[in-house]
Amino acid sequence: MARNKYSKQCEFCDSDAQYVDYKNIKAIMPFTTKYAKIVPKYYSGLCLRHQKMIARAIKRARFMALIPFVK
């Protein structure tokens, strides 16, 4: 997910997200590359707090075989 040119805030801050659920695969998938790697913060445009939430959710989903480790 590329950063939106016009909004300086991260998109999870806009919605004031307190938690990213590892079961919500569709919310997580945009933050993985086509090789299923985690998109770095400077591409995802997330703030550090939400980047960490996303990363944790991705790692949990990977462990439970909801999303692949590598493609």
Partner: protein, 208 residues
């Protein structure tokens, strides 16, 4: 949900946890039921009180674990009085051979449960708008699939009862107009129930 809300109010100080378990997909229904009962007992033994359980049923694993490419997913949401018993519970789960994986997570405060249906079709917060635009073309798509199935059901249903040859010969013989008329007369809701009853049969093993 209302009973869960009531409990949440009662046990406001108690920590909430969720336990996701992947069981072997090729167990029989009785065996999975037994395993689920075992897991429930583990939770109650660890002073936990289940307030919701979510069964995702058999899903494809994203990668192969223990030579399995499918798993039976269950999630238990529970409140816990004493956390010290969790170690024993996790130990039991790791020992159990029918449990492929398990994940115990402490739910954050104000956590709102989402059922599988919500998870499959909703995405995180702001993105819902984008998905909603995509959804209308996506939702009519499954319907043609269900309409196509009647052509397959008569062909496969007799095959289960070991009479495949006559059905297969008969199917191509009538003109292509005839099956279309049948499709119109049949109710989609009937088809769904028929399909489900076929799929729910534990004796049938459908492998891709």
């Amino acid at each position: 949900m209302s009973s869960a809300d009531v409990q949440n109010v009662q046990n406001e100080e108690l920590e909430k946890y969720e336990l996701m378990v992947i069981l072997m997909a090729d167990l029989s229904q009785d065996d999975t039921e037994k395993e689920l009962q075992k897991i429930k007992k583990l939770i109650s033994d660890a002073t936990g009180e289940i307030y919701h359980e979510d069964i995702w049923d058999v899903r494809d694993l994203a990668y192969i674990i223990n030579k399995q490419d499918k798993g039976y997913y269950v999630i238990y949401y529970f409140t816990l009085a004493e956390s010290k018993h969790l170690v024993e519970m996790e130990r039991e789960l790791t020992i159990n051979n029918t449990v492929i994986r398990h994940l115990l997570v402490k739910s954050p405060k104000n956590y709102k449960m989402k059922k599988l249906a919500d998870l499959e079709f909703s995405t995180g917060d702001r993105r819902t708008h984008r998905v909603d635009k995509d959804a209308p073309p996506a939702s009519p798509a499954p319907k043609p699939r269900t309409e196509r199935t009647p052509a397959h059901i008569p062909a496969h249903a007799p095959a289960v009862h070991a009479a495949p040859a006559p059905a297969k010969v008969a199917a191509p013989a009538p003109a292509p107009v005839a099956p279309k008329e049948i499709k119109k007369t049949m109710d989609i809701s009937d088809l769904d129930s028929q399909l489900e009853s076929l799929l729910d049969d534990p004796d049938i093993n459908i492998k891709l």
